[in-house]
Amino acid sequence: MDHASQFETLARAAMAADAHDPPALAALHEQLDTIAAALNATDPAPLHDAVDTGRRLLTSLLLRETDDPEGALALVRRSIEEILSCLPDRAPASARSDEENELLAAWVAGCTDALSRLEAAILATEDASSTTAADDARRIIHTIKGEAGVLSLDAVRRAAHDLESAIEIAESGPDGFPAEAALAFVDWMKSAVEVLDGGGSSLPPDTSVRTALARLQADDGGTGDGTAAASGKPGVPDAGGDGTLAEFVSEAREHLACAESNLLRLEAAPDDPEPVNAVFRAFHTIKGVAGFLGLDLIVRIAHGAETLLDRARADRTFRMERDALDVALAAGDLLGRLLDAVDGSSVPPRAECDALLERLVAVLDGRTTPPPPAAAATAGPVGAGSTGTGSAGAGPAGAGSPRRMAEQTVKVSTSRLDTLLTMVSELVIAQQMIIHDPAVRAIAGPRLQSSVAQATKIIRNLHDLTMSLRMVTVRSTFQKMARLVRDIAARSGKQITLVTEGEETEFDRTVIEEIGDPLVHLVRNACDHGIESPAERIACGKAPTGRLTLRACHQGGSVIVDIEDDGRGLDRDRILRTAIERGLLAHEQCSAGITDREVWQLIFLPGFSTAAEVTDLSGRGVGMDVVRRNIERVRGTIEIHSAPGSGTRFRFSLPLTMAIIDGMVVRVGAGRFVLPTLAIEQCMRPVAARVTAVAGRGDMAVIRGELLPVYRLGRVLGLRGSDAEPVHSLLLVLDTPHGRCCVIVDEILGQQQVVIKSLDPSMPVPRSIAGGAILGDGRIALILDPAGLVAEAADSDA
């Protein structure tokens, strides 16, 4: 049966219905009848049940058999909700924007990892000695639930939620952690992730999870009723499909992403002709190819959007702002969803297409349209003029406008890149071994020497090139935030300007992947809770438009990412109060002077987040545990600065783990180590007079008038046989996020680019070691993390 449009209207009608409005109720009843007639045996049992319940309730409502019409209607709404929730392919009702698709892709990628961690945690709960496993499992499930909610993956969210409740109940009982049910969830999630990864959107039925949960309830003496029997809908989509079609979908998505970012640019600078042209081209291309492929709906929407943009190009008085911009963005979103539907995995949202085309026409006619229910207030810069007041030129009619200077690119799977990198590293090492082989060295022919020199040069270039392939700029990550900020601003009626700095900063791909989620959390928090409403801001004497800054830069061998808002700042008292209520902090501790820094750290505590949600403690708790864990996973740190009334800044300092660095290779004792060159400020012979022992503080040196601690690398690392003759050793002045310091090494061996290779995560290495680098001779040198070094040296002093 064709669920989509039917259920769309049904849901809307149910929301609008009034308990005292018989015609509306009758219409609703009729719709349910139609659905009931269309149902067949293959539809899940709960769907049948819900439809029947709805009809029964409506009948009694219509016949005025009930005393509490409002209550009855509420029940009707609930059963309709249930009907909707029974549909695995509910995608049309909650289809995804292009943006969300990217988020989804990122989530899918991260989910596999989360699931294996969850699995490990569940298995560990069976080990009585493990106390944290259950907490870990709960946290992962909670995260999955939250993320699924954001991504409108209702089935996942529901299953995770039910599982969470089940765990809570079971843990208070004698049986403890319900590993069976949790594992069923993991298995189901794995297959769901596989479907999503393949580009599909109809998730497999969660029968196994339901069964496991039902069994749990039955054990509990509860009502383990027939919910388990739900046989899901068919339809795992064929992920492969036609090559041309798949290509079109992926290209069209890129065009949409480009259109969207340009539309957002337009919002900031409505008079700039270039974004208009770019958006026009994007829609035009999509239309062309879709026409060729016979995708009519896409052609219609793309054509509509194109007409709008064409008007903006040709008509100087027509400006792309407010309504026009909203409609264009909505068209982009809708196209994204239509693309989802192309592979047949979901039903195209026809009704919405018509609605959107109507809005397009209205905007072109110069009428103001009622915005769709979702997007209420307009956000962004205040453009007072309505449509038709534009003064500046909208640019030349774009037929001959220059092509975008996009670099020609080829998409390559990351696993191939990694393989390439590994193989090139092996090549370098193999070549070094040949050169140093005594047999080869014995041949003194000049021809051989020049060939070897030539090969060395080529391999070096190849190596450098391959290394650079791993690096990506933070630009696209920041750009994703632009849409998030806009949506939140629109929803909450706030005015927020997003400023991004240092978009060109290059990060290792792995680091970028890890900071994506924390950024989303923090940006959402800053917009939702940090930045005040315009009225409130004016009352505080601030500009009505809030400002959110994302900044990235390299600093002293670390990568820094700032998320800074100029909102109300963290509420110290409320955090403290909540911490005490939650038993995370004793009263005495609190009354004793606790520093701001310590207070801010509280918000990262697991369990603090739920409290924040419940008490609405300026919201800063939500998901902070996740933020911290992600950052810690790449050995980064988070620093918070907050001042009441003037805003909050979160600063991630990410060590250059997993990245390529320019390194200084030094010798300490018999070992070789690499220090990030960027962290090295200066290098000098430690003249005896310069290093002095200060009572209680260890060795210190005066460098340019500043008293800095001196660490002997050999000692900090616990190496023997070094520092024999400090007079011959060298003093390096390091700049770290934790302040400047000096280290003493035995010798500098040279400078070279190295790739940081992570060490086995199960080895408990000290914080001062960021990883290993394979040097030219194939041997390993440990890479030191200056920040970790300082922290560790400070710890061992204490």
Binding site: D113, K757, S758, M763, P766, I769, L782
Partner: protein
């Protein structure tokens, strides 16, 4: 005898019939599940890793991949001896996350000898260890011709996290020197 499906419990490793790589350590022979052996390499330069338990000899470069190397003698509480030219590193695949590449760890042994088939009739449960050292490191014993060799519970052995560095490790050197 345990002839059920080979479901690996996370707490106790139990030996199953199959092929084993036998190797020598001190004066005894041991067996290692051949399915866990990635390769055997000659001794190479090992970079020491500060702050790790003393049985971790360091890290090596295995064709561009950095993997830790464990000194099995120390781990099993056998008196240390200098490596001779028969000593080699067995690269073992460890239980990792499903789907991802298995984690690799090198294990230093005195010499490898042969691959043996141990069928269900020649395999027996691990004897209870007399002392604390090496508790749970043996997953069973296998009869090979006239001798009985202990079969190693390699995941347990390589699980470095749960073992605090015992005395004399690099960790102590810090305080010693300071």
């Amino acid at each position: 005898m345990h002839s059920g499906p080979a479901s690996r419990s996370h707490r106790v490793e139990r030996a199953y019939p199959g092929r084993y790589l036998s190797f020598h350590l001190g004066c005894g022979a041991y067996g290692l599940d051949i399915l866990r052996v990635r390769e055997i390499i000659a001794m190479i330069d090992i970079t020491p890793l500060p702050g790790t338990p003393d049985f971790v000899r360091g890290i090596i470069n295995l064709r561009g991949r950095i993997i830790p190397v464990v000194e099995l003698r120390r781990r099993l509480g056998i008196a240390a001896a200098a490596d001779d030219d028969q000593a080699c590193i067995i690269v073992v695949e460890r239980e990792g996350r499903e789907g991802s590449d298995p984690r690799l760890t090198g294990v230093i042994v005195d010499r490898v000898s042969e691959i043996v088939d141990i069928d269900a009739d020649s395999i027996g449960p691990a004897p209870r260890p007399a002392r604390g050292t090496g508790a749970g490191f043996i997953s069973g014993v296998g009869r090979v011709q006239d001798t009985v060799i202990p079969l190693l519970a390699i995941d347990r052995i390589l699980h470095a996290g749960e073992v605090a560095p015992s005395g004399g490790g690099a960790g102590d050197a810090v305080t010693e020197a300071a």
